[in-house]
């Protein structure tokens, strides 16, 4: 069976791994811009996400201000967006385009990009003891494709019409004409796509005739999503290959840090869900530009006109395709946060993670169930009620693995001598937010309740808490935790505390009142509630939310300052400032170009060996050999650890 030709095998093996022995680049461009070093790419992803998150944050504050003071004129806004906010007062279309762009930027370019692309890229190879990702060039490509996606998306805000866009190049050139044709339907006098981050047809599939905000902006929006799909898909297969193929000697699957498990699960979700969205995006683009009607039913009356050119499609098909991707996407956002939280809780509780195996299986269960429940976004879409029943039951069943994770986090904290560092605070905040936001998921998962709560502020409060803010807290925790390893300097602790408390209280002050507003019946995506009598009593709450949002947004400036100031002026960090056990803390700070200085580590134990009896410290690094194995390993040059049971392993050294 396994009869191998020895010579070509050894040959291929050498060649095979030769790709990874690339020396450190010297030129500036190769080193910092088109770098194939996963660490640089990770930081690039993080900076991209940092930029996006502040754009999204400003948009959300603008939206809050418009909701609270609908008649006020903001001169600055008026001069920036002459069309969208004439005289400084937002038009409803401008508000809706802010909703769309806020949602899209936050979901795709922050929640998907930063935890997976950023931290995952930087730390997955180091934590499994690899020199780089499996496909370094592909890794670089995925970042730059993501970047192009962001540029296209942001340009969607500024497209006020094909004319304006093509004039800026050269109106008569073929490219300009093609662009003008592609962007046909612009010139509607609004500021961007208004379809929401879900881009529901029929309106999004019709083009300019569907009214303002459905023209060129939506085309660019879909293009951006399609580009992003390709980028994440390439990233995901890179992650999976790296994790499966490049673990170092002794790094058995069940010894991996939970962060690696979470990135792995996330990558699988991305690999399987993005292609479906890609298919949907292609069809939607065809609907807009080839005149097809996949998502457009016949007999549609739009802007007082009967559409005769389209018939036979179904908008529900888009909703299915979109949410088949969309629900796993929610877990793509939150799972890395869960991984980082588990990792950080264990480290600062100085205790092994409670129920490591259960955590891994719960994570996979959440990932798997995440594919089974997309229909709960469509309970009132006209979907078959029969499917709705099944989706409801499956949705509620996600509560089980989520509860397992929560109990295990609490079990880890139980009776521990907790070190309340800044990352630890954010990790505990993650648990709190995850529970607070997740509980209402059980409410919304039931068809009967969802009928009345769908598209109200209740949903808004729910998903912002559980997938928005909780995931952001996971990122903050990760950033404060790994900052010393990434930049070689510690972040300021005091500023961190000052950042944490207003943020933590602020997000609750923002999103808990939203649940109440939703129960009163306040609908989502409305630019103004001035005309609705029954909502006047919620006005104090609206005011409270807005003030809390503004304060919380300004608090983030502290983080921004701390981040950039610490890169240059923070106190120097040692190799293992947190006394953690995993592989990234065994190498120098910051890690060298090939992560481990040419010699890959050997792993002897699981990732969370804290409070080990008889150990010299209260933690044991993953690379510390067992007493019995130590003697063997000493003369074997690391060739005698786990996993070296006689199989070939020539490539890594």
């Amino acid at each position: 069976m396994s009869e191998a030709v020895p010579v070509p095998e050894a040959h291929a093996d050498v060649e095979h791994h030769a790709a990874h022995h690339h020396g450190p680049p010297t030129s500036f461009i190769r080193k910092y811009i088109f770098s194939i070093d996963h660490k640089v790419i990770g930081i690039q992803y993080l900076l991209l996400a940092l930029f996006s998150v502040f754009v999204g944050l400003i948009m959300s504050v603008l939206m809050r201000m418009n909701l609270t003071w609908p008649d006020h004129k903001w001169p600055l806004l008026g001069s920036l967006f002459k069309v969208g906010a004439p005289g400084g007062q937002m038009s409803p279309e401008f508000y809706l385009s802010l909703v769309t762009m806020h949602g899209t930027i936050m979901v795709f370019f922050v929640l998907t990009t930063a935890p997976q692309g950023g931290f995952g890229n930087y730390f997955l190879p180091i934590q499994i003891g690899a020199e780089d990702m499996a496909f370094p060039v592909l890794n670089m490509l995925s970042f730059w494709i993501t970047f192009v996606g962001l540029v296209v998306l942001v340009s969607a805000i500024f497209v006020e019409g094909s004319a304006a866009f093509s004039v800026s190049i050269n109106p008569n050139s073929a490219i300009a004409k093609w662009v003008a044709k592609y962007l046909e339907g612009g010139g509607s006098g609004t500021v961007g796509p208004i379809g929401g981050w879900t881009g529901y047809p029929t309106l999004s599939a019709l083009g300019k005739i569907a009214g303002p905000g459905q023209g060129a902006g939506v085309t660019l929006w879909i293009t951006s999503i399609a580009i992003f799909c390709v980028a994440s898909l390439l990233g995901a297969l890179n992650f999976i290959t790296t994790l499966l193929n490049m673990r170092t000697r002794g790094m058995a699957l069940m010894r991996m840090p939970l962060t690696c498990w979470s990135w792995f699960t996330t990558a699988i979700l991305a690999l399987l869900s993005f292609p479906v969205l890609l298919a949907g995006g292609i069809l939607l683009l065809l609907d807009r530009h080839a005149g097809t009607s996949f998502f457009i039913p016949g007999g549609l009356v739009v802007s007082d006109k009967l559409l005769t050119s389209h018939a036979g499609g179904s908008p529900i098909l888009w909703q299915h395709l979109f949410w088949f991707f969309g629900h796993p996407e929610v877990y793509i956002a939150i799972l890395p946060g869960m991984g980082a939280t588990s990792h950080i809780l264990s480290t600062f509780a100085r205790k092994p993670i409670f129920g490591y195996r259960a955590m891994v299986f719960a994570m996979f269960a959440i990932g798997l169930l995440g594919f089974f429940v997309w229909g709960h976004h469509m309970f009132i879409s006209g979907m078959s009620p029969y499917s709705g029943m099944a989706f409801s039951v499956l949705t509620l069943s996600i509560g089980v693995p989520s509860a397992i994770k929560t109990f295990n986090w609490l079990g880890t904290l139980w009776g521990a001598r907790i070190r309340f560092t800044v990352p630890m605070l954010f990790a505990i905040g993650f648990v709190s937010l995850f529970v607070a936001g997740g509980i209402t998921g059980l409410v919304l998962g039931q068809t009967s309740l969802d009928l009345s709560m769908h598209d109200t502020y209740f949903v808004l409060g729910h998903f912002h808490l559980v997938m928005g803010v909780a995931a952001i807290f996971g990122m903050f925790a990760g950033m404060y935790f790994w900052f010393p390893k990434m930049f070689g300097r510690m972040m300021n602790q005091t500023l961190g505390y000052i950042h944490f408390w207003p943020t933590f209280i602020g997000v609750y002050a923002i999103f808990i009142p939203m649940h109440v507003m939703g129960l009163v019946g306040m609908p989502r995506r409305y630019a103004s509630f001035a005309e609705y009598q029954f909502l006047t009593k919620t006005h104090p709450l609206v005011m409270l939310v807005t003030i809390a949002a503004i304060i919380t947004a300004f608090t983030q400036l502290i983080f921004l300052f701390n981040f950039f100031w610490s890169i240059f002026k923070g106190p120097k960090a040692s190799d293992n400032p947190w006394e953690a056990t995993t592989l990234e803390w065994t190498t120098t700070t910051p890690p060298p170009h090939d992560n481990f200085g040419g010699k890959l580590p050997t792993v002897y134990r699981g990732a969370y060996e804290f409070a080990v009896p008889d150990a010299p410290d209260d933690y044991v690094m993953q690379t510390t050999p067992d007493a019995t194995e130590a003697n063997v390993a000493a003369d074997g040059d690391g060739h005698t650890g786990q996993g070296s049971t006689g199989n070939g392993h020539d490539g890594h050294h």
């Binding site: 030709v5 399987l272 479906v276 529900i316 299915h320 229909g375 078959s384 499917s387 070939g648």
Partner: protein
Amino acid sequence: MSSRLQNLMQKQDVILNAICLLLATFFFILALSNLRWAGNFLTIDSLFMTAVCLMLAGVFMINPALWAHEHGLFAAEEKGAAPAVDLHFEGTTKLFLAVLGGLLGMTLVEVLLAYFKVPLELMLTILLGLSIIKAALIVAYFMHLRFERISLMLTLVPMLVVCICLLLIFFPDSFRLNKMRTYNQPPTTTTHE
């Protein structure tokens, strides 16, 4: 570990597996009988029930299969020192020609079948069945998955199959849609003047 404890554990294993197998068979039979009773295969109820039953049967098969695997029932080939990368190439020209012949034959059968007037559902089932066999042949022999480690197959195929099965949940809506459409009625113009 005392031998008594080991005995007990083995007994437990056997009982657990027996229960699992029983349940798996039950659900499998349920799925099959549902196919028979439902009459029309392509309905919401039939598809849903069949899918759920098959899935449950699969879930209950996991434990016995794992147990069997642990006891070396499927693991006979995985012995001996394995090289880092298997470069051996199995399969002879004769084998590939045979596979090609089979594929071409099945294609011709498909084309011929297309000219028989049978109900659409039946036709779809036969054509898709043949196509799946063809795809399996291509994956197994041309793409060489048959000669890779079984773990690769176990990694790749289930996730694809699960996702494709999940996509089938779209269909209840398309059936509903068909019933809800108003054909032949020219849409009344509702322009608001």
